[in-house]
Amino acid sequence: MIASAVKLAALVSGPEFAQAVLTHGAAAGVSPEEFPRLTASALRRRGAILDVCNALGAKGDEDDFYRTLAAIWLELRFEWQRHNLVSNYGTVRHGCAAPLSLALAGASSALMAQLESLLDDTALARLGEFAAQLIEGTHGVLSAEATQVSNAAAHAYFPAGS
């Protein structure tokens, strides 16, 4: 297995990630009933990264492995953004955020931090900027006007009652 795959596998298998999940869960006030679902979700994510290490971690796969790491980071960044948005809409509208949503935001952020140790700053900055601009709606042609057209398109695929 290439060095970066070995390092990533060790990082996600180590105690820091599991501890971060538990710490974020406790800090967010996740209930005892929800904790198993939080840890199962985190373990699934870790398993997915280990699958990548095993499948794409052979010598000769370095470029593909590195790009896949970058793609996973971007995927986690979008996930974190989503949990952050849901949490804060909950805070502003209802006075509190769903604890599990907060905990998942923390968990995805913790995993991102581990991946960042294997990715270069320039790539991360560009990927992060893309993710931020997308949410702002400033990327490309995403705009408020598009929402109205999308609504009509969606109605065609999901007629009332389907």
Binding site: R44, A55, K59, A70, V86, A153
Partner: protein
């Protein structure tokens, strides 16, 4: 209020039908998504534990979609909801792509991973339900931009050295 449990049981108001949030809510219908799991399970040889894990994966996706629809369910949220749906679509697309790569790389090493194939299949079916909420040109532009961004990512020379 369980995020991974049913958003319908959260006590929060449901999105209005015939709104973007309402359509997003329908896209995450847990009954429809669970049916996708049944289809995937029927065609692949999975253990009981793998089937259970697949169901949880699908339930999480359903809850993620419907929770987003509930959280940004007001009419004035639509300018933020639409790009967020686009971001979720990209997120799920990366997820599917990763499963696809793992499956295909594993296949070249004669390591069949039906559980990965199952996740990819269910993930792509859920992805298709979100696609109907986005304009095709937006999907194409976003996916194209993401692909170009990632293609430009190159490992620094030092990371290519394998100490063993």
């Amino acid at each position: 209020m369980g995020y991974l449990s049913s958003p319908r049981a959260s006590g929060l108001p449901l999105p209005q039908p015939n709104t973007l949030a309402g359509h997003l809510w329908m896209a995450g219908d847990p009954g429809v998504i669970d049916e996708m799991v049944s289809v995937a399970v029927a065609s692949l040889n999975l253990s009981e534990a793998e089937i259970e894990d697949l169901r949880l994966y699908a339930q999480e996706r359903s809850a993620a979609i419907q929770t987003l629809a509930q959280a940004l369910g007001h009419a004035e949220d639509e300018p933020e909801l639409y790009p967020t749906i686009a971001a979720l679509w990209l997120e799920l697309r990366f997820d599917w792509q990763r499963h696809n790569e793992v499956m295909n790389y594993a296949a070249t090493r004669i390591m069949p991973l039906p559980r990965v194939a199952a996740h990819g299949a269910v993930g792509s079916a859920i992805l298709a339900r979100l696609e109907d909420l986005l304009l095709p040109e937006h999907r194409d532009e976003l996916a194209g931009h993401a692909i170009r961004l990632l293609e430009a990512v190159v490992p620094p020379q030092t990371q290519l050295v394998n100490p063993s």
